[in-house]
C-alpha cells in the first residue's frame, strides 16, 4: 500500500530547536492514506515537539511539512486544520464548561455547512458512544469520557489526518477498546490516516501499521510493529526487556 500513491503527509528534514537545545533534528517520514502511524519514543524524545510543528502550533526551525502535496505554512494551526490536519492535546482538548454536544459542535464550525452541523454532531457522538451524554457538561464527566470528547471534537472536523497526542492515557481497558475500534474504523473509511503518539505500548503494537521511534529528537528506527519489537536499538533505548519477549 506504500510508495505507489503519494503520501498524505510528508515530513522532510524537519528541525526545531529551543535556544541551544535541538528538540527535533532533521526528521524525515511520511504517512500514507489508510494507515495508523505510531510515533513513539522515551520522554523527551521530541514527540510532542514534532506534533506541535506538524500541526502548526510551533513554527519549524528548518525543513518542511508537506500535506496532501502542499507545503503547510509553518506555525499556522488554523490553516493546517482547515487543510485537513487536526490534532488533539495531551491534557484534554475540550471545553470544560460546555456540554458534550456543544463541544463536538466546535469541531464542525470551520468546515461543515451550518445545516449539516447538528447531524454531524449526532453521527460523531454515536461513533464514540457519547450519544446519551450530549447534554452533560464536559467538565463533570469521568476522565475517560472526557478523553473521548477530545477525540470526538477532532473527528467532527473530518480530518484527512487525525493526530492524536496520547489519547489513551488514563483510560480503562474497555475505553481503550472503544477508542482503538473507532481509530481502526476511521482509518478504513477512505483516504485518511491517523498519526498516533502513545505510551500504551500494547495498544500501539496492536493498532499501528507502521511505527517511527524517536530518540533524542532524531530518527532511531521505523517499521511494522513486529519489526520494531525485534529491533535491538529500540529495545535498548526504549522498550526494555519486558516488552521484548
Amino acid at each position: 500500500m506504500r510508495s505507489e500513491t503519494s503520501p498524505l503527509l510528508k515530513v522532510e528534514g524537519l528541525c526545531r530547536n529551543f535556544g541551544g537545545l535541538m528538540a527535533v533534528d532533521t526528521l524525515d517520514f511520511d504517512v500514507h492514506a489508510g494507515e495508523i502511524f505510531g510515533l513513539i519514543g522515551p520522554n523527551g524524545a521530541g514527540k510532542s515537539t514534532t506534533f506541535n510543528v506538524i500541526s502548526g502550533f510551533l513554527p519549524p526551525s528548518g525543513g518542511s511539512v508537506r500535506f496532501r502535496g502542499e507545503v503547510l505554512p509553518g506555525g499556522k494551526a488554523a490553516a493546517a486544520s482547515r487543510a485537513g490536519l487536526v490534532r488533539t492535546f495531551q491534557h484534554g482538548s475540550y471545553v470544560r464548561s460546555m456540554s458534550v454536544g456543544d463541544n463536538i459542535r466546535l469541531g464542525t464550525v470551520s468546515g461543515t455547512p451550518r445545516p449539516e452541523r447538528a447531524g454531524r454532531v449526532r453521527e460523531v457522538a454515536a461513533l464514540l458512544g457519547l450519544s446519551d451524554k450530549l447534554g452533560e457538561t464536559a467538565g463533570t464527566l469521568p476522565h475517560g469520557l472526557q478523553r473521548l470528547v477530545s477525540i470526538a471534537i477532532a473527528i467532527a472536523a473530518q480530518p484527512k489526518l487525525l493526530c492524536l497526542d496520547e489519547p489513551l492515557t488514563g483510560l480503562n481497558e474497555t475505553e481503550v477498546g472503544t477508542v482503538l475500534k473507532v481509530l481502526d474504523g476511521y482509518r478504513r473509511a477512505g483516504d485518511r490516516a491517523i498519526l498516533l503518539v502513545e505510551h500504551n505500548m500494547k495498544a500501539v503494537m496492536t493498532v499501528c501499521d507502521r511505527i517511527l521511534v524517536l530518540h533524542h529528537g532524531t530518527f532511531l528506527a521505523t517499521g511494522t510493529p513486529t519489526e520494531i519489537r525485534g529491533n535491538d536499538d529500540v529495545i535498548h533505548a526504549y522498550l526494555g526487556q519486558a516488552h521484548a519477549k
Partner: protein
Amino acid sequence: MDNKRKTVLHWGLGGGAAILLSLVLTDPYLRSVLTLMAISALLAASLRFVMLMGELNFALAAFAGLGAYAAGYMNTALSVPFVLALPLAGLFTAVASALFGAITLRAKGPYFLLIGFTFTEAVRVVYSKIPALGGTSGMIGIYPPLSLDDWMAGIVVATSVILLLGLFAAERSDFGRILLAIRENENVARSVGVNTYLCKVIAMSCACFVAGVAGGLHAFVNTVISPGDFSYLLAAFALAYVKVGGENYFLGPIVGAVVLVALSHYAIGLGGSEHFLYGGAIIVAVLLMPSGILGAFGKVGPRSVETKVRAARHAV
C-alpha cells in the same frame, strides 16, 4: 425546538414588559432612572460579551465615549437626524474598536486590559483638546427631535432590548461557542481550524458597537456630554453590574444594572457615596457570591461549573 419557543416567549414577555413600563411611566424622575438602567445594562452586557472570550475590555468607557461624541457631533455639527446618528455612532465605534482590537488583542490578558485603561484616559484628553467637541467643558445641545421627546424612555428601552437580543443570539450561536472555547482552551479552537485572533477582533467590534450605541443614547438622553463622563469608572461600574448580577448568565448584567442603579439612587438620596456602594457591592459579590445574584438564587445550568473552572483557566 421546545427550548427555542420558550426562549422566544421569555424575550417577548421580558422585552415587552420593559418597553411597556417605559411608556406608562409618567414621572420624569422614574423615567430617567429607567433609561439609566437600560443604558447601564447595555454597557454591562457589552463588557460581558468580551468576557465570554476571557478578556476584560476596560476600553469600554472609551468606546462608549466615542459613540456619544460621534452621535453628538453628527447631530449638532452635521445635522444628522437622531435615527441615523445613533446607528452611525455604533458603526463608527465598531470600526474604531476593530482597529484598537487588531493591535491590542495580539497581546493577551493583562496587556489588553491595561492598554484599555490607558486608552480610556488618553481619549479623554483628546476630547478636551478639540474645540469642535467642546473641549474640557464638553458638548451641549444634543437634542432628539422634539416630536420624539416624550417617547425617549421608550426608544432607549426598545433599542436596548433589540441590541441585547442581538448579543444573546450571538452568544447562543456557534460564534458564542467559539468565544467560550477561546476563553477556556484556545488551542482547541485553533485545532479545529478557527482563526481565533480574527474571532476576538470581531467579538470586540460587536461588543463595542453596542457600547457605541449606548454612548449615543446617553448623549441624546442627557443632551450634554463631557470628557469626565467617560473615565475608567464607567467600565468599573459596568464590571460591578456584571459581577453583582452574575457573569455566567446572560441576564446577569441586566439584573446587576437594575439592582445597582436602583440602590445607588436610593443611597444617593440618603447622602451616601456612589463609589463606596459600587465598590462594596463588587467586593461582596466577588468574595461571598461569586456567581452573583442569579447564581445565589440557585439557578443551576450547564454554566454552573464555570466558576470552579475559572481559577484554573485565568492562570497566566
